[in-house]
Point group: C2
Chain length 227, copies 2
């Protein structure tokens, strides 16, 4: 399948690399292709510059946000949450019509220091903002509650015995994404929380996730719902 | 031990009943003792009127917020979160000095409809508000991430193989509360998230908890941290 990924950070790279290995055709989009390709510094998590990563992943092509959105039958939002709406705007509204958007982003606002606060929360969410801005798109919020390496490899922990969530207004789109999460990455336990307003729940889990990261000394953890 | 509980709702009743059975001396406080004792209607969760509950729990005495706070060597805040600061004000600041306050409340605001939003979140929390208002108190936020029956009986699920959290500025108070959670109720897995600002994490988990309640069809669930 042709997949467009918005965002060249760790999440975009991890998803892009995993999906390319599965045989999908990936364009990974950025605001400024030349600028991103010219970066020589390692990323914030010590990952190699994007140009080096691309050399290691020949099946992934770089492009603008619009290139990625046009290419994708499905689009993955892996941008920084506070920049997501601007990235979507650059990608062009018509490139989202009728497509499933897998929204992984969290509206983390680092401008007040660490740990980050949320730029939108409580009475709204980034998932809802994207769905409202692109009513023709089929937004499914998911994977935003785990670190990138777990998104594509849940078996890394307890043989996958922990949970991931989906939120969205389009039942068929959610069912399709659940199928992909299982087939692509091996997610065994997926909970449908309801419509896109339930993205408030998973986005507002981030403040707990961030404190757990601090307390546990690792981001490689997840929650299992025990009932 | 003498324990004062603020709040006569399901959380106050559940904690009060369990602690009285363990032999503690409990005063459970309310704004208007005569009014609360005169209630004939069942509670919002179908529980019997407070007067009937008290008859079934003869070791628990009713009183004002001030009576409960004066009585308690330790005080449990089981009020509705949006009314907590008003309840503390009625209880009298001097009754909190030097005491551990176990803060279980969540700032759920039902005024916008269901599911509730949070009256304070993101850049502040109810736990922090209480600690700021009563700097001489030793506030420990805990138990606010599970339904009342699980607070006092974690073994109800998976023999207790799931997690509870503590947040607070006073390390000795947190250690004491962890000891009590284990000894009183059998909590086996307690994570210290850090200072009282980490109460933002557990309070902001409530929006996810509320959607999980909807999706699972029960409030009797908890999260296990898998790492």
């Amino acid at each position: 399948m042709n997949i467009g990924i918005l965002g060249t950070g760790v999440v975009g790279q991890t998803l892009g690399g995993a999906l390319a290995e599965l045989g999908h055709s990936i364009i990974i989009g950025t605001r400024d292709v030349a600028g991103t390709m010219a970066q020589e510094e390692p990323g914030v998590y010590g990952q190699p510059p994007f140009r080096v990563w691309l050399q290691q992943h020949p099946r992934v092509a770089p492009g603008t946000f619009a290139d990625a959105a046009r290419h994708g039958e499905t689009i993955i939002n892996a941008t920084n949450g506070v920049g997501s709406l601007a990235a979507f705007d650059l990608a062009g509204a018509s490139n989202f019509d009728g497509k499933i958007i897998i929204d992984i982003s969290n509206p983390l606002d680092f401008s007040r220091g660490m740990p980050p606060t949320l730029a939108v929360s409580n009475t709204d969410s980034l998932g809802e903002q994207i769905q409202r801005a692109y009513p023709g798109a089929r937004v499914v919020k998911t994977l935003n509650t785990v670190t990138a390496s777990l998104m594509v490899n849940p078996r890394q922990l307890a043989d996958g015995d922990h949970h991931i969530f989906v939120s969205g207004n389009d039942a068929a789109a959610k069912a399709q994404v659940c199928e992909w999460l299982a087939a692509w990455f091996g997610w065994k336990h997926i909970i449908d929380l309801g419509d896109i307003t339930t993205a408030r729940g998973t986005e507002m889990y981030l403040p707990l996730w961030l404190r757990l990261w601090g307390a546990l000394g690792t981001g490689v953890f997840n929650i299992k719902i025990v009932k």
